[in-house]
């Protein structure tokens, strides 16, 4: 039976998250000391060689991101922790921050040293005020112990906007504006927060860094799938026996996740579909369960790893109803900045409602497909580009007009 491998969750249930001494006793903040003893370029090279890629969904090489920010000219640079996880079914970042906030802060400080930034912000979603309290307590302790040196961290509380998970929308929100995405390029490593070079990285990505610095890039690169090494924290929801979070190497298959770790389908019913990565993810049929939960493997089958949410649907679920709910989510969360997303999410929801009521026709599916394919290329940011994914994959793999079964 496959086993969990806990890197970012290594301290869960082992230390008291609110006691910095517990963290320090568990080798905490020693990697930061080690990082600071290395030349910046060597540190960045080490992180790049580990192969660590962003765990928020975009999968960009973290070392490369640091290298861009390091090379960018700027009198001030920033490290921003993206703690705005909003994909339905995702709570991995909450677990990491609640159980080991110092790992995230230490990861930020390592980035800060690497690129020459002395200020960091944690953008914590508005749904997690209780997590922001933990982070603030941890930051206060770190300052009192003087483990961060020159590096300063501050928590910004979001206010319930899914689009703020998009890095430039998040930056706009920290600046006190509507959370609408910016035109890219320039990307944040060149021009981010207040126009300064900025590293925006996900909670899980940052929490990996102390371990990578401590144990070396070779150790990390050898774990899991070659192109997307390391582990992934997954959250299992829906019709699965064990609704829980796990951390597994990235070469674990979806089937192992659902049946070995998740205990299979609840109530002895049969599997129908699984959606991975939250609402922006593809809806996956049984035939693709052998896929590894790695970025490229998922992309190769037209799905996404995304945030790592694993939403299981059993044979009794009416996919028309579930897909309609997902379309409503995007209709609600579209920020309205660009027309393809603002209009597209609304039209898709309208059509999905019709299909959901059992009144859909083949022409409706063709129109959904056309709108969806247009949005995937024409929308301004990742929200709109990914919004049609559940609908398009449901049409591709299932008989959506009937609501279930393989096409």
């Amino acid at each position: 039976m496959p086993q969990e491998l806990r890197i970012v969750l290594r301290n869960v249930d082992k230390i008291d998250a609110l006691k910095i001494d517990d963290y320090i006793d568990a080798n905490g903040y020693k990697p930061l000391e080690k990082a600071r003893s290395m030349p910046q370029a060597d540190l960045i090279q080490e992180i790049r060689q580990s192969g660590l890629r962003g765990r928020g969904g975009a999968g960009f090489n973290t070392g490369q991101k640091l290298a861009f920010t390091y090379s960018a000219a700027g009198d001030q640079k920033y490290i921003v922790c993206n703690a705005d996880e909003g994909e339905p079914g995702t709570y991995k970042d909450r677990v990491i921050m609640q159980s080991d906030p110092h790992a995230v802060i230490e990861g930020m400080a390592i980035c800060g040293y690497a690129v020459g930034a002395t200020k960091g912000y944690i953008y914590c979603r508005g749904e997690y005020p209780y997590v922001a309290e933990i982070l603030n307590a941890a930051i206060a302790q770190a300052k009192e112990k003087d483990v961060l040196g020159e590096f300063d961290v501050e928590v910004c509380l979001g206010a319930g906007a899914f689009v703020c998970g998009e890095e430039t929308a998040l930056i706009e929100s920290i600046e006190g504006k509507r959370g609408e995405p910016r035109c890219k390029p320039p990307y944040p490593p060149v021009s981010g927060l207040w126009g300064k070079p900025t590293v925006v990285a996900n909670v899980e990505t940052l929490a990996n860094l102390p371990q990578i610095v401590d144990r070396g890039s070779g150790w990390f690169a050898a774990i899991g799938a070659a192109g997307y090494p390391g582990t992934k924290v997954l959250t299992l929801t829906g019709d699965v026996v064990n609704r829980k979070y796990i951390e597994v190497p990235t070469n674990t298959t979806i089937k192992e996740v659902i049946y070995e770790f998740g205990g299979g389908i609840a109530g002895g019913r049969k599997f129908q579909a699984v959606q991975i990565g939250g609402n922006s993810g593809g809806i996956i049929p049984e035939s693709l369960l052998g896929t590894q939960i790695a970025f490229d493997a998922m992309a190769a089958v037209g799905a996404t790893l995304g945030s790592g949410a694993v939403f299981v649907m059993d044979e009794t679920r009416d996919l028309r109803d579930v897909v309609c709910r997902m379309a409503k989510f995007f209709e609600h969360e579209s920020c309205g900045k660009c027309i393809p997303c603002r209009e597209g999410t609304m039209r898709m929801f309208d059509l999905c409602e019709k299909v959901g009521q059992g009144k859909g026709t083949a022409a409706d599916l063709a129109l959904l497909q056309e709108i969806g394919e247009t949005m995937a290329v024409a929308c301004f940011c990742g929200l709109g580009q990914a919004a049609p994914t559940p609908v398009l994959t449901a049409i591709k793999h299932f008989d959506l007009l009937a609501g279930k079964g393989c096409a």
């Binding site: 508005g126 749904e127 504006k177 579930v322």
Partner: protein, 204 residues
């Protein structure tokens, strides 16, 4: 409360009373008291007296803002503080924020209206949010919505007439190990059933 003409246009009043609470009672001041939100849309038909606190002086707003004054981007954090004290973002609070943070009033309104967790109309003191995202949806969120509407005697989007509760929908609150989930004032309650709704309400 005085009823106002539907067609009355949205405008900022220079001569409005300085005291939002008075304005609310008189129905003469802020747009919000007239059942319209900051964009002139008809606000929820059920008007609610709020009883969140005694922040009823313009100067008090500036006091609340002082913590964030000079903090770049502090307007969103200051709105959180106002909502904690007053329950929603009053017109006066938004205009005061524009002044303190040195942005045009339009920008201050934009921020207030953009984010789901900010409200520009009065609402009940304890804010109940029901997650309707897919994992909660399949776990029975609709039954929970129906049970809450019945227990409170209001529809989603409204507040109870005693000003005690407001009922809102939300997307994922990140507690998906315990679907379906509701939150009250941000505090999550998981594995909610139609039967357990009253137990949660009794705590507030």
């Amino acid at each position: 409360m005085k009823d106002f003409q539907e067609e009355e246009p949205f405008r900022l009043q220079a001569d409005k009373p300085k005291n939002w609470f008075q304005a609310l009672l008189q129905g003469a001041g802020g747009l919000l008291a007239r059942g319209r939100d900051a964009f002139g849309k008809r606000a929820g038909h059920q008007q609610t007296e709020t009883n969140h606190g005694e922040v009823n002086q313009m100067s008090n707003y500036e006091g609340l803002f002082s913590e964030f004054k000079g903090l770049p981007g502090g307007i969103i954090q200051s709105y959180h503080t106002i909502q904690k004290e007053v329950g929603y973002l009053t017109e006066e609070a938004i205009l005061a924020a524009a002044k303190v943070f040195n942005v045009p009033a339009k920008n201050a309104y934009e921020v207030a209206s953009f984010y789901s967790y900010f409200s520009t109309k009065p609402r009940g003191k304890n804010i109940i949010r029901i997650c309707e995202s897919a994992p909660c949806h399949v776990a029975g969120a609709n039954e929970v919505i129906a049970a809450l509407e019945q227990a409170l005697g209001i529809k989603v989007g409204d507040s109870t007439s005693d000003g005690k509760f407001a009922l809102e929908l939300t997307e994922c609150v990140g507690q998906c190990q315990d679907t379906p989930v509701i939150t009250v004032n941000g505090q999550p309650f998981g594995n909610i059933t139609a039967d357990s709704v009253s137990e949660v309400l009794a705590q507030f």
